[in-house]
Symmetry: C2
């Protein structure tokens, strides 16, 4: 069984992306998988966790605010965002500083 | 369609709870629903969003670190946590400060 992501040392940053999907499926899965591959090579990327039921939640973890900004400006990622509006009825992006964590 | 939570004004706090469930179902759903009711009356609670597929992610939003600590120490919530170890193969709790947000 895959564990949750651990071993990160605060302070670092989290981007919480919550969204409600539209019914439009066209190219969504392809883009989603392509971005998941692309982000893995992005400097400062520490990992992500994702689940969707009524609401979709993706949390990605980053070493710095600059690393988050660089990913936001990555050309293929930007292009995907241009299309994103048709996939989402609503979404919210929250940029957070992780202060502390615990778990097992 | 339910929108994502918005209208919150940074800075505020987010608790990101990620978990992998065990197969044990006993009393989980009852406790989960009871805690969802209970937290709604907790001072400083601003809302929560939750989804589970392979991993479960629940993000709750709070006005302050003190409000988070008070909820953590709430007796019924504490008692649920004592049992929690049997429901989760692994979990992680991250306390975060939301610096900024955007969306539609």
């Amino acid at each position: 069984m895959k564990p949750v992501i651990d071993g990160l040392e605060p302070p670092y940053y989290a981007v919480i992306f919550t969204s409600i999907r539209t019914d439009l499926e066209d190219a969504y899965d392809d883009t989603d998988q392509r971005l998941a591959k692309l982000v893995a090579d992005q400097p400062g990327f520490l990992g992500f966790e994702s689940a969707r039921q009524e609401v979709g939640i993706t949390v990605s973890y980053w070493s710095s605010l600059d690393a988050i900004a660089d990913w936001r400006n990555q050309p293929e990622h930007r292009a995907a965002w241009q299309r994103g509006k048709e996939w989402y009825a609503s979404y919210r992006v929250r940029i957070c500083r992780v202060e502390r964590e615990y778990g097992f």
